[in-house]
Symmetry: C2
Subunit: 698 residues, 2 copies
């Protein structure tokens, strides 16, 4: 399903559109796109194909697609049983892209899936891209290209405005609804794509293409599932490289939702926690609902990104200012105190104003509107804060006040074009649009100001820290099944994970030799694939300080092993007795059905397990992502040293995560899971070391 980049040009910018199954009835699925296209400003050729009519809705009709001359984009609006024939004919006619409304394929079961796959294969073999089947189509608003039957495009008066936000949705209903809701809020879109069953073109293909489209600034994606995780990651990397923020709604945050999503879509759901981590890893902002989806998309398309996370808040209401400060702080922005100079000069203007940040212009602004401009000028000239949120209250409700404010806003914007400025307020729609046309997002809800700044700051960081994923070369063959403890530690040690030295001893003499090489004191453990709880039967001996103790321990361990009927005994593990300060952590690897090898990090101990306090990333990860994983757990503070403990060696821990992730990626085909537990993270400068590990291969 990974198309070549650029191969969707004829889909998004066709010069001619054929409708196969064209209907004279503008209410029918085969009639709607023609009806829409006639009134949407599309300047290309509209080509109805209908063997039974000479004209359709006033346009000359063709008997077949083969007769219709060059066609960039064809819409298939015939019943499902005729769809495969349409594919054949379109390929023969060198159509560039086919949008298939027809349904009755993978969504109905295996038989339909087979036909769908055959159609997709034929299309690809013939150099044609196919969107759908079972989709609601595609639209490019800058050209009026509305190859869709969704009612959102039915009327000229309510036709979506041309904007710079592309919307890609697996669901046609969801996509259309978002277009309508965006329209309702005065938000324009550049494209809508609904991918339906994703026989050929999937969300990743559309994303990769639109991320390189100069008409697109922001991309909104709606996902129910994902069949091709690596493809999605590749597309996200293209978007990041092109500095196009991606905002996502993904279903299945909860177990109930995940279950419903799984049954609703044919795609594998995978683990939502992994999906969520992947979003953070590749710089996707995940929205909770449609409101946030559109709001953040809109804000990003208007305002640019802040240079730093310091935010100034200007407000005519102390209370609303603090509400915004709470929101900003909670979302990781820095509501830093304004410099003394700013505070002093503003106190001169309004003696009783709050000036630390938020800057409170007070109700006095009602009698002196210039206070807004004075406050903004002070803040923007005297600080390098990356963003300013200025709540305008109901000031713009009075047309005269609104005019004055907009003029002053223009002056401020012109003087400080590099700042992110947001102006929430009870604006009449025309004022909001006026502000937005000049690069100032203007929501009603004041806290959406800091929320939007936080989202923009997220992308500033994401674009600056583009992941430099470590190189991975195919790994060597691993032993099959569950590796024994020594094999596991050997393999991970070879992969660059710091591990303790463990030796296998089959005799007491070998054990003594091993202990001497390792250095006393040592630990000895029974090595047997058949005995799980070795300490319960006396199969573990700690703190062995000399050769005599090792001798005795070997005998005792072998004896203990012999008490278990039918257990294979492979000998004894001799390992150093590790002591000293440190925090016990767990590093793990699992294979996600969607994204493949995934690395996991958490603290050791029952409490963390009970809370599921772990973080994930798709392997491999670089050092920066490994640090992000460490920072993400709720118990993060423990690694800073609590109750007088020293701070942990986070660099070494991150290196261990990177090494494990590279190993996991290199051996993804062979692995079932890895758990290095515990990994002791020592005080800063002293490293981290895995004390035990389980590696399971296929």
């Amino acid at each position: 399903m990974d198309g070549e980049i650029g191969s969707l040009q004829r889909l998004f910018y066709p010069r001619s559109i054929a409708v196969i199954g064209a209907s004279s009835d503008p209410g029918k699925i085969g009639g709607r796109p023609i009806d829409f296209l006639k009134r949407s400003g599309f300047e290309g050729r509209i080509v109805p194909v209908n063997p039974k009519a000479a004209t359709v809705q006033g346009l000359p009709a063709f008997r077949s697609i083969g007769d219709a001359g060059q066609v960039d984009l064809a819409i298939c609006a015939v019943p499902g049983k005729f769809a495969e024939q349409v594919v054949d004919e379109c390929v023969a006619a060198s159509v560039g892209a086919l949008v298939m409304f027809s349904s009755g394929f993978a969504e109905l079961g295996d038989e339909g899936r087979e036909i769908q796959e055959r159609m997709a294969a034929k299309a690809r073999a013939g150099g044609m891209r196919m969107v759908g089947p079972n989709c609601m189509g595609v639209a490019t608003m800058s050209t009026g290209m509305v190859a869709t039957f969704h009612p959102a495009f039915a009327k000229v008066e309510t036709l979506p405005r041309d904007g710079r936000i592309a919307l890609i949705s697996q669901s046609g209903a969801f996509g259309g609804l978002c277009v309508q809701m965006a329209n309702n809020r005065g938000i324009g879109i550049s494209h809508m794509v609904t991918t339906g069953n994703e026989g050929d073109v999937d969300v990743s293909d559309a994303l990769a293409e639109l991320a390189q489209d100069p008409n697109v600034d922001v991309i909104l994606i709606y996902l129910e599932g994902c069949r091709n995780g690596p493809g999605l990651i590749r597309a996200l990397e293209i978007a990041r490289a092109n500095r196009k923020p991606v905002v996502a709604v993904k279903l299945g945050r909860t177990e109930v939702g995940a279950e419903a999503a799984q049954s609703h879509t044919a795609a594998l759901a995978g683990s939502d926690a992994v999906f969520d981590a992947m979003f953070r890893q590749f710089g996707v902002y995940r929205a909770r609902n449609i409101e946030e989806f559109l709001d953040i998309g809109c804000a990003l398309s208007i305002g640019g990104l802040p240079a730093n996370n310091r935010i100034a808040i200007v407000t005519p209401s102390g209370g609303v200012g603090i509400l915004m400060a709470d929101e900003a702080e909670e979302r990781g922005l820095d509501v830093a105190p304004l410099p003394e100079t700013v505070q002093r000069r503003f106190k001169e203007l309004i003696p009783f104003a709050g000036v630390r940040n938020p800057l409170d212009v007070t109700a006095q602004v009602v009698s002196d509107l210039t206070l807004f401009e004075q406050a903004l000028e002070l803040v923007l000239t005297e600080t390098d804060f990356g963003s300013v949120v200025c709540f305008l209250g109901a000031a713009t409700n009075d047309p005269n006040h609104g005019k004055v404010l907009l003029e002053s806003w223009d002056r401020v914007r012109a003087a400080h074009p590099d700042r992110l400025m947001i102006a929430p307020g009870m604006h009449p729609p025309e004022v909001a649009r006026g502000l937005e046309a000049k690069g100032t997002y203007a929501p009603i809800e004041p806290t959406y100001g800091p929320r939007a700044v936080a989202a923009a700051w997220y992308f500033t960081q994401s674009f600056a820290n583009a992941v430099d994923r470590p190189a991975v070369t195919a790994g060597s063959q691993l032993p099959k099944g569950q590796l024994n403890e020594i094999e596991a530690m050997d393999v991970l040690g070879a992969a660059g994970l710091p591990v303790i030295t463990e030796r296998l001893a089959k005799t007491a003499e070998e054990a003594v030799t091993a202990a001497r090489e390792i250095g006393f004191p040592v630990v000895m453990k029974l090595l047997s694939p058949d005995i799980l709880h070795k300490s319960d039967i006396g199969g573990v001996k700690l703190g062995l300080r000399d050769e005599a103790a090792v001798h005795a321990a070997f005998a005792a361990i072998m004896e203990a092993g012999a008490t278990v009927a039918d257990a294979r005994i492979d000998g004894c593990v001799v390992a150093p007795m590790v002591s000293g300060d440190g925090v016990e952590t767990i590093l793990g690897v699992t294979i996600d059905p969607t994204f493949g090898p995934v690395v996991m990090f958490g603290l050791g101990g029952v409490l963390v397990e009970a809370m599921g306090d772990v973080s994930f990333r798709v392997a491999p990860v670089d050092h920066m992502q490994a640090r992000a994983m460490i920072d993400e757990i709720r118990a993060r503070k423990v690694l800073d040293g609590v109750r007088g403990a020293p701070p942990s060696d986070l660099g070494a821990l991150a290196d261990a995560i990177v090494a494990l992730s590279v190993f996991a990626a290199a051996h993804a085909d062979q692995l079932v899971s890895i758990e290095a537990n515990p990994v002791l993270v020592r005080p800063d400068g002293q490293g981290a070391i895995a004390l035990d590990a389980v590696v399971v291969t296929k």
Copy 2:
């Protein structure tokens, strides 16, 4: 500031309103309320008071309030320096309530505060209530009583609709803004009260009064701080007893916000964590921002409360349905599978529909609008689910479809009046208002449906579980300062907290006697107020199994104590050696500046401390609230038993919390803090016991 209930009747329902400092200029603060009242439908007497004019804005004016006949409510719109005289005159004229716009009091410092307190005292002594100073006034929409100068009430066309939501705000700007935003969304209000400096009437007074007003269904409160925590709790208890949901915005969720709030308002901020816990304890729903504040308030005023937490979701878009299911699940609702019968019968209607829950009416609903009604009827007849959220998509955008849908909705509602029904959708405003008039909340954003159901379910529970707070009688005198370990355990033991038996021994013989009574093995510890880390100097001996060991330990401990210069040595503590299974927890008490004695619960251990994973309640608490505290910590699962550990005795733990909370409330005046740590919670049926405690008194 606690007025008697009922004493604000003349404030909210005056038959006559005087404006002192009445202005002929309808743009001035002293002119606006007259201008507003003339056009707001107020049928009572409007009485301008102005010594220099015979008429004001066409109404006969009076020289002084004393000449004006009976006045229920007076507005003071004169400069601050004349305000105190106005209070005197109003008291003399038997005015019922005075709304003081004038500013320049507590908000400017101590001098202003003094005058403000004097005015409040005079008012109270004279039987008059005072709102403000420094407030924006009061309004009752059912009578057009707009005693305010906020521009939200300036125009007849945009006058707030009469509704059943009361809005109480410490900030005038915030209150007025909320009224405007509510108006913008078509939400009506019953009252607006802005309390300003709260010289006399505070949020609690207004809340207690409006909670008993038959015109009020829901109360929204905006708090920057609170001077009188017990008063607020009393008012919340009245609201709960009257089944009036209270929704709050409170500033200071973050440290930055709390700091800003502290400097913005004269009120003590207290701890936000305690405030938040108090909200949960007394059934207040805390909103994050103005959008949620108004949305939840609106939903509650329209829809009633659900009988249980089972929610059915009906949707024409599978994706939106799952998005709503995710939201419902995450907010603690039960998206339970629909009964087999419902699923089967719906499958007969639409073979390929998702029917488990959400129930997906699919795009087929476009051609057959009755599917909505059929789905709803099935669900409501065949289940007892407390609520149904039915997303209507853009169906009501077509006027004909809208009409059909509203008619079918009426039928369904009439047949099932006891259910909570919410119908999100892209409704034209008149459709939304139509649905809402018939008891169906109709937001645009689909996830606001389950969010509103969750809020309503919160109140169902809160009203059912009204707190029966344990009786508290004034406690006996405690020793002053930091109690020694034995005193602390004695005091808490007497309070009903299960504690281990500890004995003081001043000689080896006393130690042996004590050990014999306690039973071997015992622990012995040095008792000294001057030595903190007793084990470091050898002042703690564990596992003493016989008399000889106790003898030896006493000598060793005394010797260890003697090595510390100038330390007072009070003897030796003899205590049982506690062993066996259990989870270590911490119970604590602090005195909050706003709410007084507060009880705290958390697990023991460094990890919990690092994460601040503790819960709070205002003391005293009953058993149910204690259980809620236990359930609230993130590490809650540990108490269920992880890794094969048995479940803990939660009943005994809750009893211990209750006992401690009652003790704290009884001794609030004397206490500084208590920490019982560890409190060992044993497996179910085996109780909980405090092993050590620190009690600090004043």
